[in-house]
Subunit: 146 residues, 2 copies
């Protein structure tokens, strides 16, 4: 993302491998012209797309359907002063095709409390970027101090 | 943030108390018209302002100085299906006043590898919002499935 800062960029495969380790990521979008960000659980589609599952009437659907969003995941080990961060950026869309919806019932994220009125939101993997957060420094040159 | 979803909002004091538990948050801003998000370590100022410490020439400074950003922290316990998320939104600015800079040397975030060319960036606590992520559901009505 900021190559001049000189931190190790992760290739696409590394990014997807790391994302698969964590159950929750953060969806980043705009609301009332301000940045909005919130943790949600997700699963990864075969091509790196991010799959969310939400109530059809939820604010999330209204906020992100058809909009370019970022989806960030990370793991930071404060004791080891290391970690990584991966961001998938792309347009989010409610899955409307019945065949796709049925497929996602198999491979998509699970519901803890299933509801009859749920939809899947898919974030297209238009851009996948990742950085290793090297001990002592983040990718912006900030010092990770623990 | 989305009150109609009915999840427990956290008051300001709760938000600040929770933020103080974690060493790292995520700064959310815009870069080339796309959302950008990255983990950084931080400390909290007395009024809830978020303090970052970075190399003066870093991309971070160029990207956020004078810009409204969001700073998100969270803890999600997948096993317990619970957690929280707090977002501080406000204008970020490099601290230029020498007295303030000296103060922040005392109370601001530490450097693991100090550099002579460092600045503090302060995110003003113009808006502090927090949500409890209730087991099984996130604030958007997505089902947290673990």
């Amino acid at each position: 993302m900021y190559p001049s800062d000189g931190f190790r960029e992760l290739d696409r495969q590394e990014c997807l491998r790391l994302m698969a380790r964590v159950p929750v990521g953060r969806i980043v979008h705009t609301r009332h012209a301000l940045p909005a960000v919130l943790p949600v659980n997700f699963s990864l589609d075969h091509d790196g797309g991010v799959l969310l599952r939400t109530a059809a009437a939820s604010e999330l659907v209204r906020a992100v359907d058809g909009v370019v969003v970022a989806f960030e995941t990370d793991e930071v080990d404060a004791a080891a002063q290391s970690g990584w961060s991966v961001v998938v950026t792309g347009r989010a869309a409610v899955v409307t095709d019945p065949t796709e919806h049925a497929r996602l019932f198999q491979v998509g994220p699970r519901s803890w409390a299933p509801s009859p009125e749920e939809v899947f939101v898919r974030i297209a993997p238009e851009l996948i970027t990742g950085r290793e957060l090297v001990g002592g420094r983040s990718v912006y040159g900030t010092r990770l101090a623990f």
